[in-house]
Symmetry: C2
Subunit: 362 residues, 2 copies
């Protein structure tokens, strides 16, 4: 069996060691004669797995004590609804930074709230060079319930290189594609949420970090499975959680701790992205229109000067076992998603291929 | 490795053959060099898996063409909210049959709807003999948007032996614990939904069957991931679905088809439940207070005449490798959940143990 380099944007590559362990114990977890996916979420064996996962996540992210951690279902899209439903009970005002497709989806959901006053604090400049709005460009209303932003836009490959200073307005971040890839000072946030399928585990589980003082401002009549406080009161087991997905997240957390945690992986991630951006910038053959400081370290997007060569690029990369490099259907081009589980070696193989391809057709 | 009989109420036992195949291809799906959980939900390889699962589900349930099939996240609890949000846009009236804890949870969620008029059509008799209300006992309002019921209550072990005739009011059923265990005439229903973790697959995916004419009566401002019509318009991929859970459901559907489908498994399920109820009724040592015709074929509950022996019953059953027989924490006693994946042999082992235990301590 050859395991191929896989640059999928999500669901994405998982660490080989994690899948190996999952495979080994798939039919018999810890000598129980049962799969971990076949037992009750309230069984002692499973609760141990769940508690350890939460505790490892807290430690990896260095989450302060005044924050709670929840795991939920429905991905970031569900959070697009949950955030306004949980926070707009009193002030109906919220501000959003629009940096692309994912931000826009979040804004659209917030606008469904009855009586909501949803304001765009800043938009990415869609013409010419793409860049993240600066802190001073953000129009944040002092009485807003929160400011929402998307630190990393997976489709365009745009990433914030700073954490917005909101002057006290709670900051809410969709970290689906960057969580655990770099150090983050959680205390600067009100809520952080992330679908697991990029840096944490399989699709079907979402992690939410919430500052405890924000748990008391939900819109009345909020559905049970959107209510953070309600879910927290049952330790994320208000209903049956996605147990196997949670178990896999736990394995990924252990793997990351063993590799030295977020600090260590951040260094590798920087090397990986610099390697590919280096190839792009050294060849007129490739182009990336994003301000260098705002380029994503997780999703490297680029186009070919001669667009007609893109399908050949995909074809030849796959021949070498480099998979899932096609850009998102909304924007086209090429995208290499290089989350935590993508090894430096696989990224080196990609950069070699890119150089060779440019020589061959450039 | 010994695989143990596992009577867990959910997440529950999965067929050995399914787990074997999942284990075999966990790191390398169909020679791709990637796990099926590592690829995009929009990749050709995954779409084939998804489409086949939906098609097999349709065929197993004999779903008529005027019904749509969706897979979602959030389990039955999410559906408790989705059903009223999707159906109460026009008439705010809905009727619910209350047969126990799960029905009551559904009612509670429906009552969160702004301006909703939620009425209990009938309640189970909680005193003395437990039985399902008869069709003539149901107070269904002719202008109700729907009648909701729970064909099988997993906690008490109470099951409807008939499908309510509602005289045209759409019938909505939470079939989480009985779906695919017996033949069902889908055309008698407006909506059928089921969390997967009992008869279909792992926790984290929910199947919904909806009659197409019911797709146009949602409450305004319904959150995106609650909106059936919205989700259907994207073939259940409005956002990233729980891909691995979906793949496992597909394997279970194939397994069930190979075993002869619903008709064949229904016969085995009848044998299994008759075997245990036979032991209960033949021994004064055990008791089940449910009207025999209304006893669940999936969740056999019973108590011991001498309640102080219950912990010994659990202890000795586990010594024999018969796991997860403890009743739900809300009601106590013993519960053997014998879903499709529980073999006749494992149920025979349980009945032998029950007889031996009764002889030893009776």
């Amino acid at each position: 069996m050859t395991r191929h380099p896989n640059f999928s944007a999500g669901p994405a590559k998982l660490p080989d060691e994690v899948l190996q362990q999952a495979q080994l114990e798939l039919m018999d977890f810890a000598g129980t004669g049962m799969s971990i996916m076949e037992v009750s979420h309230r069984s002692a064996g499973f609760l141990e797995v769940a508690d350890q996962a939460v505790s490892d996540f807290r430690s990896l992210m260095a989450i302060p004590d005044n924050y709670s951690v929840l795991y939920m279902q429905g991905g970031a899209t569900h959070q697009f609804s949950c955030v306004p439903w949980n926070l707009l009970g009193a002030s109906k005002k919220a501000d959003y930074i629009d940096t692309g497709i994912w931000s826009q989806k979040a804004i659209k959901e917030a606008r469904r709230i009855e009586g909501g006053d949803i304001h765009v604090a800043a938009s990415v400049n869609e013409s010419g060079l793409l860049r993240v709005p600066g802190n001073s460009d953000l129009l944040i209303r002092a009485d807003s319930a929160y400011l929402h932003y998307t630190p990393n836009e997976t489709i365009s490959g745009l990433e914030f290189n700073y954490i917005p200073d909101t002057d006290g307005v709670p900051l809410v971040a969709d970290m689906s594609s960057s969580i655990l890839s770099r150090g983050v000072d959680v205390s600067k946030f009100g809520i952080i949420y992330a679908g697991a399928q990029k840096n944490i585990g399989p699709a079907g589980i979402t992690w939410v970090i919430i500052r405890n003082d924000l748990l008391n401002q939900a819109v009345t009549r909020i559905p049970a499975l959107m209510n953070y406080k309600n879910i927290l009161s049952q330790d994320s087991m208000l209903n049956t959680p996605p147990t196997y997905a949670l178990y896999l997240c736990g394995l990924v957390f252990k793997w990351l701790k063993k590799r030295g945690g977020v600090e260590a992986i951040e260094k590798v991630n920087r090397q990986k992205s610099e390697l590919i951006y280096g190839v792009i910038d050294q060849n007129d053959f490739y182009a990336n229109a994003i301000e260098p400081s705002d380029r994503s370290k997780m999703n490297v997007t680029f186009s070919l000067a001669d667009q007609s060569l893109e399908s050949k690029f995909i074809e030849e990369s796959e021949k070498l076992g480099l998979y899932n490099l096609k850009g998102h259907r909304a924007v086209g081009g090429i995208r290499a998603s290089i989350y935590n589980a993508s090894s430096l070696e696989s990224v080196q193989a990609l950069s070699t291929f890119m150089n060779d391809f440019a020589k061959k057709y450039g």
